[in-house]
Symmetry: C2
Subunit: 405 residues, 2 copies
């Protein structure tokens, strides 16, 4: 105890960056991202700095990064200015954005609510205007959910489209490298640097398919908040048809995702967890316990359903169709919510985010409204390999609705 007050948490109002000296790196003098600043989730390697993965025991037991992750390299070479590494949920295994070791970033759009995670610091940094864009990663919603909760744009690209080399993994067959921006045009600009060409370049997207179960799953007030954006979208792509993606129910999507992904999480991180016995915050420990004890037959059933669902989604979306639904079924939970309430929200949320997660689709979340004073996002989803077209659609929609272009 010192007699001099040390109330850092009371004066740093966003707290998006990992504690310790700030990592800054100026990129190339010119390039498509010149003049733009960015941050990266602290699971991407930046040469000469530790990669904490949000957990002090991880940081302690891993060497300082020897090289930049290829994504970081690409952004610097394109002229971006790296302004720091952002907080993540421990081992990216959580959706609220809580981190009891580093502190939870503030949701600048709703200070009494969770910012969403696991890419919480990246979302908060963008929402607070500290950087122009920020890299996150998305396994089961970790870019889309904080984008929705913080009122900004976020993309989970098609699985495999953007390199995750030099990045910590959680469930490799689900993990994707996504990013956030406050403006749709910036979201697309970053895509031009990081994404491969679309598989059908220049093809128009449509028709629009409203995922019935996902709309039924959302709070009525959240649905209402998204009405204007949905109408604007219909103005661009024509009236929506309704579609029933999963007669098995969203609960089956969630359960299949959870079981298949838990098996991968334990295969990826279990040996470290078992060897080190790291301390985890609330919720994270429980998820690793569940991963460790996941019955192989449940994981196998999840993988089997996933194959069926993938085939079904690719057939449905092959011609350019776009799915539309609320990114999250409600605004962010309050910071005061019990673990049980957080878990209930998690299940309802992941039943919907599992659509892209299971099938490897690309998804963009658009800040489309406010419910009870807190942001909610609208998601657009297309077949793998149509990321650039989807980013263009998001930009057109933003213009049509008066959102930041």
């Amino acid at each position: 105890m010192t007699e001099a007050p040390g109330f850092g948490d009371l004066t740093d109002t966003v707290s998006a960056f990992v504690p310790g000296p700030r990592v800054e790196r100026r990129g190339a003098a010119s390039g498509p991202l010149a003049g733009l600043s960015f941050a990266v989730k602290d699971l991407y390697d930046v040469a000469g700095t530790p990669t904490t993965y949000g957990n002090p025991d991880w940081a302690r037991t891993h060497p300082v990064a020897a090289a930049d992750a290829p994504v970081v390299q690409a952004l610097l070479q394109a002229g971006g200015f790296l302004r720091g590494k952002t907080k993540t949920v421990e081992l990216a295994y959580g959706l609220t954005g809580e981190n009891v070791w580093h502190g939870t970033p503030l949701d600048p759009a709703a200070p009494d609510r969770f910012p969403g995670g696991s890419s919480c610091g990246s979302a908060a940094a963008v929402a607070a205007g500290l950087v122009d864009f920020a890299m996150g990663s998305d396994t089961g919603g970790s870019v889309r959910i904080p984008a929705s909760y913080c009122g900004i744009f976020g993309i989970r690209p098609s699985w495999g489209a953007v390199s995750l080399a030099g990045a910590c993994g959680l469930g490799p067959s689900f993990d994707t490298a996504g990013w956030f921006a406050a403006r749709a045009s910036v979201l697309a600009q970053v895509g031009e640097v990081l994404l491969p060409e679309d598989t059908a370049p220049g093809a128009r997207l449509g028709p629009l398919l409203k995922v019935e179960a996902a709309w039924m799953n959302a709070l009525p007030s959240t649905v209402l908040a998204l009405t204007d954006a949905l109408q604007a979208l219909e103005g661009l792509l024509g009236r929506t048809a309704r579609v029933d993606l999963a007669p098995e129910g969203l609960a089956t999507l969630y359960e299949s995702f959870r079981c298949a992904q838990a098996e991968e999480a334990w295969a990826t991180l279990g040996s470290w967890v078992a060897a080190i016995g790291p301390r985890f915050g609330p919720g994270v420990q429980e998820r690793f316990d569940a991963a460790r004890t996941m019955p192989p037959e449940k994981a196998a059933a999840g993988r089997a359903f996933r194959r069926v669902f993938q085939a079904r989604m690719r057939a449905l979306l092959a011609g350019g169709a776009v799915l539309v639904f609320p990114t999250s079924p409600a605004p962010a939970p309050k910071l005061t919510a019990s673990l049980a309430d957080q878990n209930a929200v998690r299940e309802l949320t992941m039943g919907v985010s599992a659509i892209s997660g299971l099938a490897g689709l690309c998804e963009v979340s658009i800040p489309a409204g406010r419910d009870g004073g807190a942001p909610v996002g609208l998601s657009l989803v297309a077949a793998p390999g149509r990321d650039r077209a989807l980013l263009s659609l998001a930009a057109r929609l933003s213009e049509a609705t008066g959102l930041p272009g």
Copy 2:
């Protein structure tokens, strides 16, 4: 997972009461508290209901209460209307007010900050106007700190003045039965029912002593926020003298309190903790680990210092002198603060709250200002046995400053 949303946490805006069916009991038709509603922290027994002590494993392993705690009985007999049992930090062992099992109550005065604890639900219920007063308990600050954080009145009575029979204990030689109210007159009314006569009835309090180290320990902005109330107090009792209570430093007060109290906590609750292996939220587990491993010589040193300090305080305050200092050195920490920042705030806070805690003094916290938009309290402290005089002084000060009388 159900398809129908269940976002209870998003719609219950205060969440002060323990989950489950609400315990309600109408008291006597007439009496000094007739027309007033109240709630009790869920560590007081109410016949026929479980006493959760804030922890599901405690609730599971203890019988339903067979009788009302004497304090509950007294309040009902005085005409109070019991409106429910309020949330507490698990086993009352924490100052932020967080409870991950039941959910953390909202601080109605600062929704992005902790409500303070351990009597968090009682403070929140009063601050939100759900009840006229509420019982808490205070071992190391558990009434005074939430009173300061939530912007209401709170009293920690002289040690032993109010019965804790039928209430769960944490550190019996430190535990006290305190309460909250939004109005100073109601705080005093409850005192007339619960408190014994003062040892020197009718005696005036004074002079006023400003505890130098406690003012130095506070944020400058918090000190500034308390200036008007301090001046009003000087108007009533004459100009303050400065006093140095503890040349050993507040750090010694904190450390003595922590070690002596930890030993008692383990003596009181350790056998249950060891037998059951309960699950605890973040922070609580660490504190019980520290209690379990507290070296006996450190606890003995704490107890020795306590005896010296008690004698010193009783000599200083014997003639009616009143100590004055900021109840908490800063407003409540943000809900997003890391455990490390929470612990730093805890240490700075308890260095001051240990004054009354160690010496068994009576202390009233007055909602005296706002710092950065969040409430901060001013504490008045008197010798044991002067509780009623202190409540009168608080009421006079409230009138003088235009606070709710």
